[in-house]
Symmetry: C2
Subunit: 330 residues, 2 copies
């Protein structure tokens, strides 16, 4: 408490008032005290004590989108591991906004979670350094952290995308479109790199009108797909590689209304993909395994492991179902 008082530039009595929720502290002073508490990792000692004493432990999971079904099995797997360790899981969503991610992570830390699994949205995670130093175990999943070293569990986004595009090339496609997520997102950039590597590996040029990156909302994806299917420049694409499940679902909808058959391989499996006409060929990740591995690494840290941070990369799997085996049509 002395350290907090010194850092916040207030007396011990004021710190005590803030900690105990007593009146007589201005909002500005309270904020300074809370910031000092957070910066010094004060609450963490309390949390470690609670964990030791056996009061309900909890871990936090910060996703980027509550409504993306990709995260459903990932969340459930984290929850199962947490439950097996007698801990509750608390979730929140960053909505792909780095500032909200930070706000949510710090709010969970202030609410004394014992550890965090984070799908990072932001481009700088040094804000987590004081929390990690103070003992909040943190594991990143699906995407790596930026600016700090931490346990990380990823899929082989580059290799998976390269294999999916190579599958289309092997069936004779030469003009292949890529519709992906915002390029600042690690997984989107890696999958685009896989697309370019497959094209370059087959000696095929990439016309930049075949590459469309942006938010995964249906309006943007629909517009880019329709533009790419129209006959212009070097000729319309005969195949599409869609770089995540949200994009694929919209593209399936666009293709369903057209005469000309266009081959499609999507990154991520999704529910009912095998019952569509044609069934959708995908590069499947294992979201449940991503979640389980991340949670297991987290609990190893919580149990005191002092190993160097690990980085796991899980393989993906090409699932041919029909849409990716459509031959090129003019």
């Amino acid at each position: 408490m002395k350290d907090v008082a010194a850092r916040a530039g207030v007396g011990l009595k004021t710190v005590s008032r803030v900690v105990n929720g007593e009146p007589g502290v201005t909002p500005d002073t309270e904020r300074r005290v809370q910031e000092a508490i957070t910066a010094l990792g004060f609450r963490r000692n309390d949390s470690a004590r609670i964990l030791r004493k056996g009061r309900t432990a909890s871990i936090g999971l910060v996703l980027e989108d509550l409504a993306d079904p990709f995260y459903a099995p990932l969340s459930r797997a984290v929850e199962e591991v947490a439950r097996a360790h007698g801990a509750l899981l608390i979730n929140g969503s960053s909505a792909e906004d780095g500032e909200r991610e930070r706000e949510l992570v710090l709010a969970l830390c202030a609410r004394r979670v014992d550890g965090l699994v984070v799908v990072p949205a932001g481009g700088d995670h040094r804000y987590l350094e004081p929390e990690i130093a103070a003992g909040v175990a943190t594991v990143f999943v699906d995407r790596p952290a930026a600016g700090i070293e931490a346990d990380t569990v990823l899929s082989d986004n580059f290799g998976g995308a390269r294999a999916g595009v190579a599958h289309l090339i092997a069936r004779g496609h030469r003009r292949i479109g890529f519709i992906g997520d915002l390029p600042r997102i690690h997984t989107a950039a890696e999958r685009l790199r896989g697309y370019r590597a497959a094209m370059a590996g087959a000696g095929l040029p990439v016309d930049e009108s075949w590459v469309a990156l942006g938010p995964t909302g249906p309006d943007r994806v629909r517009a880019d797909t329709e533009r790419m299917l129209a006959d212009r420049g070097p000729g319309p694409v005969t195949a599409l590689f869609t770089a995540n499940n949200r994009v694929t679902v919209t593209v399936v909808r666009v293709l369903a209304g057209r005469q000309r058959r266009v081959a499609l391989v999507g990154f991520d499996d999704f529910e009912l993909a095998d019952l569509l006409t044609p069934p959708v060929t995908v590069v499947a990740q294992e979201p449940a395994l991503l979640g389980r591995k991340a949670a297991e690494l987290l609990f190893r840290r919580l149990e005191g492991s002092g190993d160097a941070p690990q980085r796991l990369e899980l393989p993906t799997r090409l699932v041919p179902r029909g849409s990716g085996e459509v031959p090129p049509q003019p």
Copy 2:
């Protein structure tokens, strides 16, 4: 603090130690003090103070299944309303277990959420009385609470199911199966009641072999569907009413592998339903509106509304797409 000390049967100094996270308290004593704090709503004053002072407010959302896509738009709507009020949303899942719901709700209260939106799993919510009395605004959504009065937002499960089954009857079906969730779940019971009302309203008998209730996992649903489609007893069903989206998706999969066409109406819309063969006729709820209304009621309470608890019931909408218009086939 005097009240807490008296209730826990300890001295003031011990309460202070627990509250301040100081050493020298046995786990048993700590637990008693924490229980007294919870019972007396001690933390709530602190929380209200925080909310007034403008530190980041937060609300909790307790779902029954993180992986059910029905809850995705509901969660996102609650989150949007929370954000519009400058509050963070923290989620958790009860996994359809009343004890876990209670544990999670109390853990969120102990972590000083300002309010709660709950999809109840348990059959008795009187455990929430001290929290509500102490000022944690609570709204129930999708299902009502049991044993307490609180704001509640539901869909018209009875009317929606009755309309869906009546739609099948109007197309000539007489032997209609009902595949639903566990009957202790309010929505499942209401939808079954709607099915029975539609059948009775048309003067049709219900053979009990046509009604199958249980967990919504694919194995159970598949087995019940196959049993119901087999020719036995009063003849096989010519139509199925599936009582939620998890059930519908499995039944679609079973029907896709069969020659004989069986009509299908599902409760809940789901992604890609319109692109299946045949497209699936559904009774659609508005999960985003359920979430938005619940969150709006919550913030009205947080802003001091002292009105009597409200109960909203949102209408459902029949969406004919093809599967529900298949005529009876022997």
